[in-house]
Symmetry: C2
Subunit: 475 residues, 2 copies
């Protein structure tokens, strides 16, 4: 299979001695030709922005279990059918239901200021008259713990800035505060927790996101302040005078509701039973229209697969698009997929997730057997031509596909430039206008080429070694 | 007075023949020394950011006639006194009272979308159940007029983008739509008007601002959509299907309330009766905390004057700081100043306004007798050293001082880089964190030097010729 490449390499005087001669799934000339064609098509005739616009304009916000979520499932089915996918279906998933009804926050001393605040996803309501209490500040979960008895009866305010990084690691460093702040504060007898939004912007639009409770301690209301409001509170607290805040949240938790993973396929030409999965999550938070999180990932996945289906010769394996349910506040879609497809997981050759926005791709994360490295080196060298050659080994690809880790399925994650991502993430500002179609197309090109290579290699990639399959939910 | 400069110029072989030898108010060596000192002080020990922080953190929003407005007057008096100003006083001004109570907008067809909207300042309420009507779009006031009978019973949506420009002229091109849209639409029997926010950002934070009614046509509710929401509506309308919007505004107009122009002085050493006025407006819109509009202008004015007062030798004329009332929705402060000081206007040597934000100054606008040109050329050459040498002849300096035009008082306007200004202007995002202290200090340096030059020149500037005193309100 690599004969023509060996010849070409020999003609160029390039030694391939470092590459094992055995059945490594490397990129053949024919594969490269199709990958180039896909890059060209994604750059010149992509429908990714059109797909994204359709989802965000016609469905909008789609928090799990909401009317928008139901509309999104219908949209997914109709869209995949209209684009010519095979075996289009909704795979039922029961999802948790949480709803934001109203929210209000005000600093009342030393002076009065309305505060732009939003309940974290899952937060309980305050008493209907609200909570009025003095504020005490900490800059980490450990610092909350260290407040001890001083936090009792107070609103704990956790103030930590999120750093802007291409790989989004600033989010990973701050998000534990969002997830566990209420638990740490409740242990000390605090009456509520406020956090500085986990975001890199300076807009008065707070960032919501999932948070957890611990049944062993009281459930206290939890909200995020927009970064300018958090900065104001931080400045005023630094002056040393007592600071009082009033917080009124109304939220609602209902019984689980029916949603679905939406699935469509481009059947493989030789090994239709072998699956290369690609997807993002169809649900979104309720404040924006879920354009960057994760409409973009859905659009990239759908369009990359569609372009592959439009090739004169489809790849060997089946490309399966999965638009997952309920990533944001439950991961029920990803878990249901593994349960529903348990018998088929051994035939999953790989899975790729797109859940880092719609900006340009700069590479992929990958996790597979170590012998897969030459394949990824070749893929990286190919994608370097469009600026997407930065490959990093490790991780579980993305939240939705992370439950596949236990089965050893090779997992990849599209790495979009996340420099702007956390400006908009989980806010009302996550709207279609934030996506640059040229960058979205480049990311689609990278995805299409990678997906094709995985679906076409003669041999599937070596699976993740048993030792590396410890379950973890990635960021 | 110019002897030492002539000598220095001669030593450098520079001809000064082009400069009239008579009593032009040029910059002497002694003046330049003090101006340099002021630039240095503003750069290294400015209190401008501290003043601005105090106003925005402790008072916050301060729409004319609101509790915040009263707190701002008290703040202004206390601040000027604490900083050592003389003759600190509140000059009573009766201001209009308009209040935003609640606002809600939603696209209901072809699909449902909440719309981020805000009432324009002065808008009437909708009926309590709201207005539900089909939307019809136009891109200018002339295009609204051309809708004719088609606008009857509809919500007219005026969609025009505001261009980003250093000099803010994009605002001037779009703002007439905000001011007069309701009048044009009402003439055709429209039930409400929506505009794309007059702003250059892409945040879901709509821009409010003043609008007018015409007693000859019905008063219809008027609101601005945030730019992403306006863009959504525009895209959906372009699809050609009927678009329905529901709009619910509750606002309130009350009887005029008492406010004040806040005044403080640095008395002149030789001609204390001659006044060089410097100021901005103390009121702000209600959505943000009025940091860039116009807390920054107040801080620049106060600090520039304070630095002059701290010089070992004060300038000849009195520097008078005026923090004007009610610029945003009435201009009552600027008008009251002229009425209250009618007898003294002949002794106003000049007036400078700072009302273009807190970003770096790139120059001044000036309006005076043509013989003032050499003075401004020298001032521009001096200020070019700090990037503020771009002087433009014309205009009325700023809205608050524009009523002085009729008296011929030489009028100047600080030109701040407005590239970012209309991202935040009149939105909830107009907060302290948007101001860069280094840029604010540079603008303060430019203001202090200019103000000093005007207060110290041997002869005051020639006044604006009668022919150029036609009343106009600048942008």
């Amino acid at each position: 299979m690599t004969t023509s490449r060996h010849l070409a390499a020999a003609a160029l005087g390039v030694s391939l001695l470092a590459v094992p001669a055995a059945a490594q799934p490397l990129l053949t000339e024919a594969m490269r030709a199709d990958m180039e064609r896909l890059v060209g098509a994604a750059t010149t005739s992509s429908r990714a922005a059109e797909i994204l616009r359709s989802l965000t304009d016609s469905v909008g916000a789609r928090l799990a279990g909401s009317p928008g979520d139901r509309a999104a499932v219908a949209w997914g089915l109709a869209t995949l059918r209209a684009l010519g996918f095979s075996n289009v279906r909704a795979e039922k998933v029961m999802v948790p239901v949480w709803r934001r009804i109203s929210e209000e926050a005000e600093m009342t001393a030393p002076y009065r200021h309305p505060l732009a605040a939003t309940a974290l996803g899952g937060s309980v309501s305050t008493p209907s008259g609200g909570i009025a209490a003095e504020v005490i500040e900490a800059d980490s979960l450990a610092a909350v713990d260290a407040l001890g008895a001083r936090a009792s009866g107070k609103i704990v305010f956790i103030y930590k800035k999120t750093e802007r990084q291409q790989d989004g690691r600033g989010y990973g460093e701050t998000v534990p505060i969002r997830g566990a702040g209420a638990i740490h504060a409740a242990k000390l007898g605090a009456v509520a927790v406020l956090i500085r939004s986990v975001g890199t912007d300076d807009n008065r639009l707070p960032h919501t996101g999932a948070m957890s409770y611990d049944d062993a301690v009281p459930k206290i209301p939890a909200a995020a302040l927009s970064t300018p409001d958090a900065d104001l509170l931080h400045r005023v607290l630094a002056d040393g005078r007592p600071v009082m805040v009033t917080l009124k949240l109304r939220t609602e938790t209902g019984p689980d509701a029916e949603s679905a993973n939406v699935v469509g396929e481009i059947p493989g030409r030789e090994k239709p039973g072998e699956i290369v999965l690609v997807g993002g999550h169809l649900d979104s938070w309720d404040l924006g229209t879920g354009a960057i999180d994760d409409g973009a990932g859905c659009a990239i996945s759908i369009e990359a697969a569609r372009l592959i289906g439009a090739l004169p010769r489809r790849p060997r394996r089946t490309v399966r698009v999965v638009l997952f349910a309920n990533e944001e506040n439950g991961l029920r879609g990803g878990r249901a997929y593994v349960a529903d497809h348990a018998a088929e997981l051994a035939k999953h050759a790989a899975a790729i997730e797109a859940d880092a926005g719609g900006d340009r791709a700069y590479g992929f994360s990958w996790n597979a057997g170590p012998a897969a490295e030459p394949f990824f080196k070749e893929a990286a060298a190919f994608l370097a031509g469009i600026g997407a050659g930065d490959f990093r080994k490790g991780g579980a690809g993305g939240a939705d596909i992370s439950p596949l880790l236990a089965s050893g399925v090779p997992l990849l994650g599209l790495r979009n430039d996340s420099s702007r991502y956390f400006d908009y993430h989980h806010t009302a500002n996550d709207t279609f206008d934030k996506v640059d179609p040229a960058q979205l197309n480049q990311a689609t090109a990278a995805m299409a080429a990678m997906l094709y290579a995985l679906a076409e290699t003669a041999e599937p990639l070596p699976r993740i070694p048993e030792a590396d399959r410890a379950g973890r939910r990635p960021e």
